[in-house]
């Protein structure tokens, strides 16, 4: 079976056997790294098989040594902070940042903004842990770029 393995900003498409243990996915990674399914609160056990762990063919898993990512989002010179699990999709981080617990953008403005880190606009499906350094990340909340003129 094929698995999308997300390590930092790199995604690899790897082939494993259904009976392989989760720890196979950690070969070459830091010793304290763990494997995470999206939107889960705990990492997968290392000694269970990938199938027992609930990993599907062409499913996406995240490798991180961080149990939490400390996220800061900057908007108009102000920062809001919250922690997320590493395999949290950027779409959820954006929902928080633009929503009532974040900067509470007017409903009409929410679709017109996005998160930016450096020169990269992450995809909604990217994992927040992919952009972290030392388990922390700072995004800017900015208007989506318009291409006119």
């Amino acid at each position: 079976m094929e698995i999308f393995l997300v390590i930092g900003r790199e995604t690899r498409l790897i082939v494993v056997d259904e009976g392989d243990l989760v720890e196979v996915l950690l070969e070459g990674c830091e010793p304290d790294a763990e494997v995470w399914l999206e939107e889960t609160d705990e990492p997968l056990g290392r000694k269970i098989t990938v199938v027992e762990a609930g990993i599907k063919h062409r499913g996406k898993v995240h490798v991180s040594r961080c149990r939490h990512i400390e996220v800061a989002v900057r908007y108009n010179g102000e920062d809001k902070r919250r922690s997320f699990r590493p395999a949290t999709p950027i779409a959820r981080v954006y929902q928080w940042a633009a929503g009532p617990e974040g900067f509470d953008l007017p409903a009409a403005e929410r679709p017109k903004h996005t998160l930016l880190i450096g020169e990269v606009e992450p995809d909604p499906g990217d994992h927040v842990g992919s952009f972290a350094v030392d388990c922390a990340v700072l995004f800017s909340l900015v208007p989506k770029q318009r291409f006119e003129g």
Binding site: F4, L13, R58, P111, L116, E121, D123, R146, F147
Partner: protein, 166 residues
């Protein structure tokens, strides 16, 4: 039996299409490679559900000297021929193009006769629009990028809330 030798641009494109960044988009239903007839490739890109919109739009990419040179893409009608003939592709007419603030501008028909997307990673659109990359470089092409940069931007626009269907 002779084996066709691929030029470097085609070889790199095929490596990118087989790679994780492209395939993860395929798996998520964001895009799919329909056909290739080098230097052309036909790629379908998924759009948000609208009562008056199709599930996908088709782009015919011209990929000469990829990725040193940016791709350029033409919005075309759904293919009906087998095998696909890139020269026979019909330009997508204005009434069947996606509407909406951002995506409508990208698929405009009053520039280059609608044969090119008006976005900063398109080879034809880049000259004369250097201001786009001064505003931000998130979508600027350079040879380290791959086709998914272009696809991500178009998919984002086709799934924005302001996309209105056709």
């Amino acid at each position: 039996m002779s084996e066709q030798i691929q030029a470097p641009d085609e070889r790199i494109f095929r490596v990118h299409v087989a790679g994780a960044a492209f395939q993860i988009g395929v798996e998520a239903g964001r895009w799919r490679l329909v056909s290739t007839a080098w230097p052309y490739a036909l790629i379908a890109i998924g759009a948000a559900v609208r009562s008056n919109g199709p599930e996908e739009f088709y782009l015919r990419f011209e990929l000469t000297n990829y990725p040193a040179d940016a791709p350029t893409a033409t919005p075309v009608e759904a293919p009906t021929d087998t095998p696909w003939d890139p020269a026979a592709c019909a330009l997508l007419p204005a009434e069947r193009r996606p509407k909406g603030q951002r995506v409508g501008m990208a698929f405009r028909t009053n520039w280059e006769d609608g044969r090119t997307l008006y976005i900063p990673c398109d080879r034809i659109a880049i000259p004369g629009h250097e201001g786009w990359t001064i505003q931000g470089r998130a979508w600027a092409w350079d040879p380290s990028k791959d086709i998914t940069l272009y696809l991500r931007l178009v998919h984002q626009m086709l799934n924005d809330e302001d996309y209105e269907g056709v």
